[in-house]
Amino acid sequence: MAVAIGLAVLLAGCEIDGGDNLPRVSDQGLVMYAEANRHEAEDTAQIAAAVFNDGETVALVGGDVFEARTVTERILLKTGGSFAGSYAASLPVDNSVQDIFFDIVHLPIEAREDRWYPIDLLNIDPGPGELVGKSATVTFPPPVSITAPLPDAVYTSINDVITLAWDLANPPGDAMRVLSAIECNDGLATSSYGTEVEIGADDGSAVISMDNFIYDLTAGSSTIKFLSDAALGLLQETLNQLSAGNIDPDFLARQAGANPINSMCEIRLFLQRQLQGRFDVTFDDGTVFGSTSAEVSVLYLPAVTTN
């Protein structure tokens, strides 16, 4: 009993380690990550973007802002992601929309529109920053349709595997990826976090070990890749849209209370078909994707052990 209490106290103070959670960023030069994702039949696309310079995130300030637009709609990415320099927003789209255009623009008044005072009269404009004028374009790939696993499939061990299957597309996407939003409850506390699994080829199936989603808080390391950079902002924005705003804004990056390996967990899997976009103005490195996604939820119910 005392050991259990001690363990609970120990776990209550734990946080998901952000130290190993940084995006893989080139040490040199200007790097941009951007993605536009359309989830199932939603009438908005989730947009996320981040810029790094020499490995450090670059916050757009002074009226510089990411703009995402279609032929008829546009939105400024004014909502910050989970770390400085990442931005996310939702852009209205319909089935006629194929391309999303990203631009970094200088709009000192529009960028301040959430402020209460007369921003057009009291405007301190330091002028455009060095990133203004950079742009990229992405195209949405064909929609994704998941055929396996079935919703609410149950897994009992982190050694189990999920056999993921989806309909093939013509033309196929450049890559497939799974983003997950996971919530675990041990009866006393909850944990929530997000993970990312790169699948690779768009060939219709993949086998993913459960230890890509469930981990042991007491273990020194795990195989999990926690969500970071634009992917984190993108999934948080997707969850926000799907819940009509009724989700914790830090759902994917909050404190870990329950140890997932010993808890009941709901794992929401967002399978993404990605199509590489192009930078219209050269960056030193980075990626820009258009993607479509579909969701299936599975359950992790650890087997009860008896002494």
């Binding site: 300030v61 960028a111 209460w116 005072y117 007369p118 009291l122 301190i124 330091p126 920053g129």
Partner: protein
């Protein structure tokens, strides 16, 4: 503004219908704490204000009310958005013209109210910081206009001529920066004050 002219005429006419008598005037000096609300996501800190009123009693229960109201420079909590870190501050003065009804209980207590129009002058200042290597800035703008004020208070006669008083006041400045900006706002000032009234 027609309304303030009309109120001024009413007050002046009322004043002329009664000859000046002993102890039908009063001077109030109140010091108060203010709460500012510009109607948006502003987060002003509490500020201070000084109000000075001259009352001329037209009847036992009604006085003309002329006053001056001055707030100190009241800052907002610092805020951060994608543009930068910013903070506003507001300073305001107003000339007040209205009526002050009162009800005198058995000595030494009375309650009173004030209701009238104000002509205000308000200055709004913004400071903004963008981060290392980018020059920060500070700008300000001011505006004048009309509004109204209403208050309720209570007094305690310490002596025959001196009254200690508490007062709750609401002042509304309407359409601040209207015509100068596409984003005008209404400024509400609520204050709780204490002070002294002197009858003479």
């Amino acid at each position: 503004m027609p309304a303030i002219r009309l109120l001024l005429i009413i007050v002046l006419v009322a004043c002329n219908t009664k000859t000046v008598q002993a102890e039908n005037m009063q001077l109030d000096v109140n010091l108060g704490w203010t709460s500012l609300d510009a109607g948006g996501n502003d987060q002003f800190k509490s500020g201070k204000a000084l109000a000075v009123h001259y009352n001329y009693f037209l009847k036992h229960w009604l006085a003309a009310d002329i006053g001056v109201y001055v707030t100190d420079k009241t800052p907002e909590e610092s805020s951060q958005d994608i543009v930068g870190s910013f903070r506003t501050s507001i300073q305001s003065q107003a000339i007040l013209l209205g009526l002050k009804p009162r009800y005198k209980f058995s000595t030494p207590y009375e309650v009173y109210g004030r209701l009238g129009l104000q002509y205000w002058h308000t200055e709004l200042e913004v400071e903004e910081y963008f981060g290392p290597g980018i020059p920060e800035g500070k700008v300000s703008a001011d505006d004048n206009g009309y509004g109204y004020y209403v208050s309720i208070g209570g007094g305690y006669y310490v002596t025959e001529n001196v009254m200690a008083q508490l007062e709750l006041r609401h002042m509304e400045q309407v359409d601040v920066f209207e015509g100068k900006s596409q984003y005008p706002f209404d400024l509400a000032i609520i204050s709780f004050s204490f002070g002294v009234g002197y009858r003479f």
